[in-house]
């Protein structure tokens, strides 16, 4: 595998050599402030399993199952507040019915306390946006096994290691050349390239400063896999300025990603984040 800087200037059309590695899964280390937790309830199994994060033993599982059953029964998006012993205020959980199962989303504050401003409101807005994207079918939350399979699906078209903002322009050119070769028209290329660039930027800003982009061809879609080994999705990054740009994102990058693509897959944990960005053909 090569970094973007090792590509020749005229190489955006060229095949980058296969590298033999896929989105890899490293062990969990521990929670960050304001990390995403996702649980999945299947009626058939009658229990709740963790998809992102670990199931918090302090949560009232029977109550959650009752709420999930109701959400499935009524086919309705529902919210539920639950107090956490180590939390400065109640955590909000969103229940999103998805066919035969119910996704339960929560931003766990892990004892983090605000210092100024009304961050609590922002966190609830972020959670609602995520839950709405799941409810609309634009966001899929994947567990470790699912992401490992889906990140390796199809044929690899391009693979790049990226470790600096200066590479962004070259990355876009390389991806655009692939999209053009697949026959996407200029408008569709633009709306595909923008969210891929956003995901790579997020990786550089919040994902430990480096990571990998792989473009893959599946029978019915193009898929960009953006993978980092950073500290996982921390929603404080959405409401407080990161060091590099000095500008809080407020989740704008995420909004661009979900609104411009057909389907987005997400797996995040304290050892890294992987995004699947799908353009259905």
């Amino acid at each position: 595998m090569r970094t973007v800087d090792e590509m020749r200037p005229d190489e955006s059309e060229a095949q980058v050599a296969p590298h033999g590695s896929e989105a890899q899964v490293a062990p969990d280390d521990g929670p960050l402030p304001c990390s995403l937790h996702v649980y999945r309830y299947r009626r058939a199994g009658g229990r709740i399993e963790a998809v992102v994060g670990v199931f918090d033993a302090g949560l009232p599982e029977d109550d959650l199952i009752a709420q999930a059953d109701e959400a499935l029964e009524r086919a309705t998006f529902m919210c539920y507040a639950v107090a956490q012993a180590d939390d400065f205020v109640e955590d909000e959980l969103c229940f999103v019915p998805c066919g035969e199962h119910c996704e339960i989303l929560s931003i766990h504050t892990n004892g983090w306390e605000r210092h100024y401003g009304d961050h609590r409101r922002s966190l609830i807005e972020i959670l609602s946006d995520l839950a709405a994207a799941v409810a609309c079918g634009r966001l899929r939350l994947l567990d470790s096994d699912e992401i490992a399979i889906e990140a390796a699906a199809g044929d690899e078209m391009l693979h790049l290691a990226i470790d600096k903002p200066r590479a962004l322009s070259k990355v876009r050119r390389a991806v655009d050349a692939r999209l053009a070769a697949e026959g996407l028209d200029p408008a569709l290329r633009r709306t595909t390239l923008l969210p891929i660039s956003e995901a790579v930027t997020n990786m550089l800003l919040h994902g430990g400063g480096s990571g990998e982009l792989t473009l893959r061809r599946l029978p019915d879609r193009l898929r960009a896999v953006v993978c980092d080994r950073g500290p996982g999705l921390n929603f404080l990054n959405w409401i407080e300025p990161p060091d590099v740009s000095g500008q809080a994102s407020m989740g704008y990058g995420f909004k661009i990603i979900t609104e411009n693509l057909d389907v987005v897959g997400l797996h995040t944990r304290p050892a890294g984040t992987t995004l699947l960005l799908d353009r259905i053909l």
Partner: protein, 103 residues
């Protein structure tokens, strides 16, 4: 990469061309700070911008708010289709004000 060229004066115009992303932050801040020193108003011309993302948008918003807080009015003009699309999606007018982005 973002290129900037400046028509100086009491009401300078900063012409932007190329790509506005995370990589342009330092260069754009520096160019605007230099041009805006002592200015009565600042115009940002986007006619050459081919690409902008949320980072580029965030830098633009921050610059506008900083200049306005210093009493320097800002106007953005000649938004290209990619810029217009992202600004609409992110409701940038609500953040910077209609004085910066007139209808």
């Amino acid at each position: 990469m973002l290129q900037t060229s400046i028509v100086p004066g009491p009401a300078p115009t900063i012409f932007l061309a190329g790509e506005m992303d995370l990589d342009c932050a330092d260069g754009l801040r520096s160019a605007v700070a230099g041009a805006a020193r002592g200015a009565q108003t600042v115009t940002l011309d986007f006619s050459g911008v081919e690409f902008i993302d949320s980072s580029g948008t965030g830098i633009f918003v921050r610059l506008c708010l900083d200049l306005k807080s210093q009493g320097v009015p800002v106007v953005a003009r000649n938004l290209t289709a990619p810029v217009h699309g992202v600004f609409e999606m992110l409701r940038v007018r609500e953040l910077v004000g209609e004085d910066v982005l007139p209808e």
